[in-house]
Symmetry: C2
Subunit: 444 residues, 2 copies
């Protein structure tokens, strides 16, 4: 009886399993299907957000000792005296800061030239001439000051020249856009009968709660200073604005800025120049990567959030670059946008062919790279210029022979190996120049 | 006249620029739009394939020196004598290999039991009993041999036990699936009038050019050995097959296998145990990562390609795990699939609740981890078992307090820090046991 009962229960169970099997048959019987592994290149899979987190965790863990040691030694991770000494030789003379304060003169000049132009009290030709003088002065005045003044440090010089270069690009854009506005006003006056209005000026552009500004109402101090402080190089009358300042977002970016700044300076202190062998490429690369995040993500987003500037595309996915040009046109979007809008496209309009225009952009970029390095170091070696120009044959080689992940690996290799070599060239020459001359004068 | 001509040309140009502006207005005037940076967590962007390539490039560059040095020293990266000595104490006695050859007996046993069951010459109860004996022997015979034989090295022992554990899981699955087939044959015979055929058995399953096998035609030597060599633990009558062997794919996987094997062994030689401090977590983690790729991507894909086995899902995107259970159910798909199909789901069918079944799976996994480590080392310390069981409170903590990228970082941290601690425990105990006893016997 008991045995029979057991058998019945077991039979019930079996029926249960079978019905389960039949309903879930695909799962229990054919549990395999034709598919590729995710890491195979033909799987089409590309979500590696976790790998990025892994890099961050590894970076934190491998630098934890450095951070802790410095924290114990100085309390604030980095020796503050040493940092200040990078910017100043004499605490009573702040040449770089003075230069930056003086830059306001050029901003005012650009604004007043535009105001005169808007009411027609000076001709377009005179306006262009005055703008040219203003822009040329923006490049030569700081360069001259840095070269003449002995009290300016290389770091202070780079900082001042960077500010002036950014200002140069911004005011160039400011002048261009205002000129386009005048031309369109002109064109509209002529074609008024056709009631053809420029679509761009009347676009809402995602901006809510802000009054729409039409030329020449934009020629105010408030407007030009907003443009100067906002993280973009391309002027626009009505920037897209973010609806509100997100406090948590702002705080997180601020913490990142403070922490990463400390980390960068700590890492630079570790890589002290007299000990710098060629094999220190990896720390250099790390510093560059952290700098990228610090500048293009944390700092720019912080400033943009504070000023409710809506467009946060400061970089695109350059880490996936499979060609050299893709890298150059995606890692620094403000500069890329400026080059495209104010240099490359106007050249195409003027009838220059595409390749010529591309080479011209590279040439301009190489010039500014050299300008930002040679002048503060007071050494004209052309390494930065040649480094930029070397990208052209490299781009040809990578584009011609390597595809997909191999192309991407080649781009990374060029970054990891190429960049530190250029840096090393300058460091080497700088030390030879300063230490050898010091040694000679001691010997004499 | 000339001036007028110039003016005309300039006017033409202006009209050109204006028409250009009007047609490309969005580009020239409003070149900004409301958008987030890609690295912001609310951008929804996740394509970081390039970061993975970066990791590979960094790995190659940072190991280039090690590889070159070993290449110069030994010619083949790794000292071959030292490797062989890991497997063998006495070159005339190959205990691990003998054990693996003996394993064929158990495969034959499973096949013959199933053949008897299929024709009904033994009852289901007898079949289950014989299978249990066979499966138990699969675990106890090698364990006993490894514990008794002194000529077997720990590495040889781990290898032999791994083979037997895989065989245990495979033959368990083989028995289960054949039993289900018999039950369905039974059910079909009873419900023939309703002409209800099992959908799973008749599915084409993406297999082209292969004859569809129906139970009991699958009970052949060829079929069971195909299952034994194929990289899966779940038996199926009709595996999905890839249409052809891709020679280039095979060659690339082979090169990866050879190179990465050398790299792993080279890295292990660097981390020589007497010098092993707690801070060597990072190399251990690297070895684990390379091992993962070597085993789950290169080797399994190589074998699958060679045997035209279609299902290449040997792992899922565990690198994006935001919780501990997600990691455990995605990094080792063959084992995960087996647990789900032959352990977890049958338990649910038997009425066990979900949490209980999950804990049982973890318990089983912990048992096998301990089995594979303790027996070859001849040390019963329970570190591996405790390490696996510690995942349960850890999973609770991570799931409760951390989300998104923070959860992912926590999973990585637990891998980077947790795993080497368990390894270190065994290494420490092993050296204390062997070196201290050696020192004592020398002193005596």
């Amino acid at each position: 009886m008991n045995k029979n009962h057991n058998k019945h229960a077991q039979n019930n169970l079996h029926t249960h399993v079978i019905s389960y099997c039949l309903t879930h048959s695909v799962c229990l019987f054919s549990c395999h299907k034709l598919q590729e592994s995710l890491l195979s290149s033909n799987s089409g899979y590309s979500n590696y957000r976790g790998v990025l987190n892994w890099c961050v965790v590894m970076l934190v863990l491998s630098n934890a000792r450095l951070v802790l040691e410095n924290l114990i030694k100085y309390g604030v991770l980095v020796d503050p005296i040493q940092i200040i000494s990078l910017f100043l030789k004499d605490p009573y003379s702040w040449p770089a800061l003075c230069l930056i304060i003086v830059s306001n003169v050029f901003i005012m000049a650009a604004l007043y030239i535009e105001r005169k132009l808007s009411v027609g009290s000076i001709s377009e030709g005179t306006g262009t001439f005055l703008h040219c003088i203003n822009l040329a002065a923006l490049l030569f005045v700081p360069a001259g000051t840095v070269l003449i003044l002995t009290s300016i440090t290389p770091v202070g010089g780079v900082l001042a020249l960077s500010v002036f270069t950014i200002l140069f690009l911004k005011l160039y854009s400011y002048r261009d856009v205002n000129k386009w506005c005048r031309e369109i006003r002109h064109a509209k006056a002529r074609t008024l009968s056709r009631s053809h209005s420029c679509p761009s000026v009347h676009k809402a552009n995602g901006t809510t709660g802000y009054t729409h500004v039409i030329y020449p109402a934009n020629l105010t101090h408030r407007d030009i200073y907003y443009f100067i402080f906002v993280p973009t190089l391309c002027y626009e009358l009505n920037f897209p604005r973010s609806p509100r300042i997100r406090k948590r977002f702002l705080l997180r970016r601020l913490l990142e800025m403070v922490f990463l700044m400390q980390l960068i300076l700590g890492l630079i202190q570790q890589v002290s120049p007299p000990l710098l062998p060629v094999l220190l490429q990896v720390p250099n690369h790390f510093i560059w990567l952290i700098f990228f995040y610090w500048y293009f993500h944390s700092s720019m987003n912080f400033v943009a959030e504070l000023m409710q500037f809506g467009d946060r595309e400061f970089y695109r996915d350059w880490w996936n670059s499979e060609t050299i040009p893709y890298f150059w046109s995606n890692w620094n979007i403000p500069v890329h946008k400026w080059c495209l809008r104010h240099f490359y496209k106007p050249m195409l309009v003027k009838g220059v062919n595409k390749l010529g225009a591309q080479l011209a952009v590279f040439f301009l970029s190489a010039f500014f790279h050299e300008y930002l390095v040679s002048v503060p170091l007071k050494m004209f070696r052309l390494w930065a210029f040649l480094g930029m120009m070397a990208q052209i044959p490299l781009a040809y080689f990578v584009g011609r022979f390597l595809r997909g992940n191999y192309g991407n690996a080649a781009v990374w290799m060029s970054l990891i190996i190429g960049q530190p070599i250029a840096v090393l060239m300058y460091v080497h020459d700088y030390y030879v120049l300063h230490y050898e001359s010091a040694a000679e004068s001691t010997a004499a």
